[in-house]
């Protein structure tokens, strides 16, 4: 049992920290594949990474239903911390979630189970935040799409290994689709729904 007395604290300076984190995530979304750093740090509970915690404090509130993967939702540290600091309701049904937090990418459910938005409101889709091992080393991916001048190269070790194959469903769904944010410690890379992987090295 975690008591409030053991919860890690939130941002020391709420406004400036949230603004700075928002800027990092926005830059990551605007330039898919580029690695952005999250500077302000808050305490992170359990297996949640520092970057994920900062994003949670910045983007989550009582209007954003939240879906947690099995490992996150089993940890009372994580659920209590999220409840205390963000007030976001945790839902079991991933198809109504505004955000999904995934700590174990290997157990990522099929992406069709998340909210895909509607043609009228494509913004009502789930943003999936996946914690990965590294965004500087590992397999290299070549990305193309809006926000990328030519080709962007991303080196990352990501689970699930077939994440980009799964994301190909975005091609058919557009303007609906899933946006993905990859987090490794304090590094963030966004893969919005318009980004395509053109080739993969080993």
């Amino acid at each position: 049992m975690t008591t409030i007395a053991e919860l890690p604290p939130g941002f020391a300076d709420k406004v400036l920290s949230a603004q700075s984190t928002f800027r990092s995530v926005m830059d990551a979304m605007a330039r898919p594949g580029s690695v952005q750093r999250i500077v302000p740090m808050a305490g992170a509970p359990g297996m949640m990474m520092r970057g994920t915690a900062a994003i949670a404090l910045t983007l989550f509130d009582h209007d954003t239903p939240l879906w947690l993967d099995a490992r996150m939702s089993e940890s009372s540290d994580v659920t209590k911390w999220l409840k205390f600091h963000t007030g976001a309701p945790v839902v079991q049904d991933s198809s109504i979630a505004a955000f999904a937090l995934v700590s174990d990418g290997g157990a990522l459910p099929p992406l069709e189970r998340f909210a895909l938005g509607s043609s009228e409101y494509p913004d009502r889709s789930t943003t999936v935040i996946i914690q990965v091992d590294s965004l500087t080393a590992g397999r290299s991916f070549e990305l193309r799409g809006p926000g990328i001048d030519g080709v962007a190269t991303l080196q990352a070790s990501i689970k699930p290994f077939d994440l980009f194959e799964r994301l190909r469903m975005n091609e058919a769904l557009f303007p609906r689709g899933i946006d993905v944010v990859l987090v490794a410690d304090d590094a963030v890379v966004a893969i919005p729904r318009t980004t395509r992987v053109v080739s993969k090295g080993s």
Binding site: I4, A5, P9, G10, A12, D13, F84, H85
Partner: protein, 173 residues
Amino acid sequence: MKLSIIIDNFGSASFVKDAVDPVTPHNTQQAQRKAAMAVLAHAEAGEIAARLRNLALPAHQDLRTPENGLVMLRGRVGGDGAPFNLGEATVSRAAVRLASGEVGFGYTLGRDSEKARLIALCDALVQSRDFGPAVERDVIAPLREQLTVRQKQAAAETAATKVDFYTMVRGEG
């Protein structure tokens, strides 16, 4: 009109204090915190800070930095009738944790974030075995006294303007 919440009602807050079971330790502490909160919510931030300055405070951190928000105030028609939404009030809140683990919460009407933080700090100190008595003696008791004096004075000033209406009996027969 009587409001259904006691957020700004010292009279009913202290009434609740007297009503709880004074035997079990849990309730005593709850009652103590409630009574302290009722006093602190009415004090000025500067007064609380000035009194806390005389104490050697333990290390503490902001678990939740002060933030402002709105709460819906609900009233009841005639005091006990159907509930209705009276309007929204600005409220500041904060949470502070002492190094020894006690967590204090502060809520206060208005936008004074520093006051919310000081109330949270006092609430944490009240729960602490080492600092509880000192805070009660040096911070809360003097503030309570001030508050009582202010309330009595206001009541006396109001009472002086009281008008008794009566009907003169005239026209015998």
